[in-house]
Subunit: 423 residues, 2 copies
């Protein structure tokens, strides 16, 4: 069974947009044992689109077309599909009803441009779009199942999950039951991990594929099997890996560092506060983007200037003058001040030079002091992270959350990154 | 002159890797007036690769092949190019010398796997790789210039800049000088804008292409011309658009809402503070991710609980009890408290129900009160944003920054989104 992908959009050809849709489609279908054989990308061009649709629908059992369903004149998919199949364009009642409801929900007036999205070939079946205005649709032509999908990633993703994967599974059943066990790590690199496996797990079974996906800042580790009869092997591999790197494992599948910290704080009925200089609210924001944060996080302080460090969280003026804002004494005082003001049990405090300006010979751009822990047990470290401002802030946020995670778990072993990034 | 792109790699087909190379190639060539007509992606498969190379080299003047130059057995590009052209594989002296030097520089021993990267078809010419171990190469076949490039983005990028763009310009000179004028807007949608143009700018010249790129939360508007002789038309179109939507224009090319706000505050020698409940630090973080934020932003408060709203920024207990935390009186008190504590001239304060829990009949999930302005002129509005927690927080952040931007600019006209999202 051959699946092809046809991506359309001038923004894909000009390089203005990087196509992440095809990777997402491939991953979702791959998880069910279906592979994409080939993908072709062309601009919003009538002649090219018709030619590609013709060739690909003749040469495959499934053709997924992505893009060209929008309201503007350069969105051509429905029109070209009509030319390919000989099915006239008409107003589709389900698509129109969807548009009416979508506009109501978004308090918009249904205009002519929008209505174009309901003008579809006869004979198609609608694929609901739970997110956006453009419905998807499919039709059989030349023994090929042609599926038309919108280009906006969030819309495509929910439509894949809700309808399209099932549609393909129903029409082309296979008996494979591939499965992937995923978990998230922080502070260990892909090549280090591969080396560990090569050296220490020499009997690694070939039925279990070890894969990585570098998120920022987490590294996702995947253990994939093509058949459910290898589930035990997959579990064994996980246990082996767990023994090697347990302290770097943040959690399963969809976790993140902040979620892990929130869960641990909840278990210990404790609360955390933050005092941020160089990260400017990013740590608080990473925590509060997770539902349920309010049970463990009540207050955060963004103390960007020295005056505010004094006035709002009571950092001693003398310390600031003698040690400078980027110093161990200041982050310890920030952490203590934030706990005193907020009544929280744990604190993270950071002060550093995010750059691009503000560095000095003693404290170059990329220098940061982090304090973390509880009232009776505060630790601090100095790191040097050579990176852009944005990456620096992201790394300080992630390292701070990981340090408090390790503290809450009582992990004594020092993570590799502390020595790697210390001067 | 037709340019095609052939991308190869199992990791591209499985969705393990998102292809950013083709976008980069297109951008670099696009800046010189060359467009990519079509791109095809296949896995590391002999039959498919040969077939694609045959078809594409017959149908285009330039074929850029990306990937498959690595040291492992699944890297097939040189082998298949040899089959296509009938040129035997031999050890290429320049490529070998490059490998020897590369290994020396990286303190590695030159092994057999590496040496494979010097086994290339006769008749090719080498494209230097200043970064990695695999050189690129090109050959003329069937009146097509075939260029083979490595898949690692940083290597490809420097080779494009140093050699490949010039190679194409030399062999296929053109006189075009395309240019694109880009600017960022907030609060106006693609279809609304297209409708405005259709209705009010009926004489829009076809030489100027109107394009959009939806970022979150900004919408980028692009006015592209293919030839510098249309620069005046492009400027005219910009002026027409400016007259229609000036208050929605945040700034040029690489700006964002926070940057625009920072610039305005700098001009007015004023400082801003934030008091955030439901956004939990996201607004402060959006401001401080920009270099130079410290001159206008000294303090931010994340006041997630009622107790903290009282203790840290002095919101009256009675107001909290009688009006509830999500109320006009509370966001006004938060804004005033934050200005009093920090000494700032302007404030943003937000309190809302980000969800998924915590909603009520009176204040359902998605409800938010925003206060913004200066000590003598605080405004407040209530909005209802139906969205996921993450999108809700992003939208509240963006709207808050846009409201203060409009305030700083003295724009009296109310933005459309206020009535659209008000209840």
């Amino acid at each position: 069974m051959k699946i092809q992908l046809l991506l359309t959009g001038n923004e894909l050809m000009s390089g203005h947009t990087v196509d992440s849709n095809s990777a997402m489609i491939a991953q979702q279908l791959g998880a069910k044992g279906y592979n994409i054989a080939r993908k072709v990308t062309v601009g919003d061009d009538r002649v090219k689109l018709l030619e590609e649709m013709q060739l690909q629908s003749q040469a495959s059992e499934v053709l997924i077309i992505n893009g060209g369903l929008g309201p503007t004149a350069d969105d051509l998919t429905a029109q070209i599909l009509s030319e390919l199949t000989g099915q006239a364009i008409e107003e589709n009642a389900i698509a129109k009803q969807h548009l009416i409801e979508w506009c109501e929900r978004h308090k918009l007036k249904l205009n002519e441009a929008n209505l174009k999205q309901a003008m579809l070939p006869t004979g198609i079946e609608i694929i609901p779009n739970p997110v956006g205005s453009a419905v998807g649709f499919f039709i059989h032509h030349n023994h090929c199942l042609i599926i038309c999908t919108p280009g906006i990633p969030s819309e495509l993703k929910s439509m894949m999950k809700q309808t399209i994967v099932d549609l393909i599974c129903d029409q082309f059943p296979n008996n494979k039951q591939p499965s992937t066990l995923r978990f998230q790590t922080f502070g260990i690199g892909e090549s280090t991990l591969q080396q560990l496996v090569n050296n220490q797990l020499v009997d690694w079974p070939e039925e279990v594929e070890l894969g990585f996906r570098a998120g920022m800042p987490l590294l996702e580790i995947k253990l994939s099997i093509q058949d459910s009869k290898h589930t035990q092997l997959q579990q064994d591999c996980y246990q082996h890996l767990y023994r090697l790197i347990s302290d770097y494992i943040v959690g399963s599948d969809s976790t993140n560092l902040a979620k892990a910290v929130i869960q641990l704080l909840n278990q210990q009925h404790s609360r955390l506060t933050t005092a941020e200089s160089c990260t400017g609210g990013l740590i608080a924001s990473a925590i509060t983007e997770n539902a349920g944060a309010s049970s463990v996080f009540e207050a955060g302080f963004v103390t960007y200037s020295n005056a505010i460090k004094q006035n709002i969280i009571g950092v001693d003026k003398m310390i600031l003058q003698t040690q400078g804002a980027v110093s161990e004494a200041v982050v310890i005082a920030m952490a203590n001040g934030a706990m005193a003001r907020s009544g929280a049990d744990y604190a993270i405090a950071v002060s550093g030079v995010a750059g691009p300006d503000g560095g000095s010979a003693q404290k170059p751009v990329g220098t940061v002091w982090i304090a973390w822990g509880s009232r009776d047990k505060l630790k601090a470290c100095k790191l040097r992270l050579n990176a852009s401002r944005k990456w620096f802030q992201q790394m300080v946020m992630a390292i701070s959350l990981d340090l408090i995670r390790r503290e809450l778990l009582g992990i004594e072993k020092e993570p590799r990154y502390l020595s790697r990034y210390s001067e």
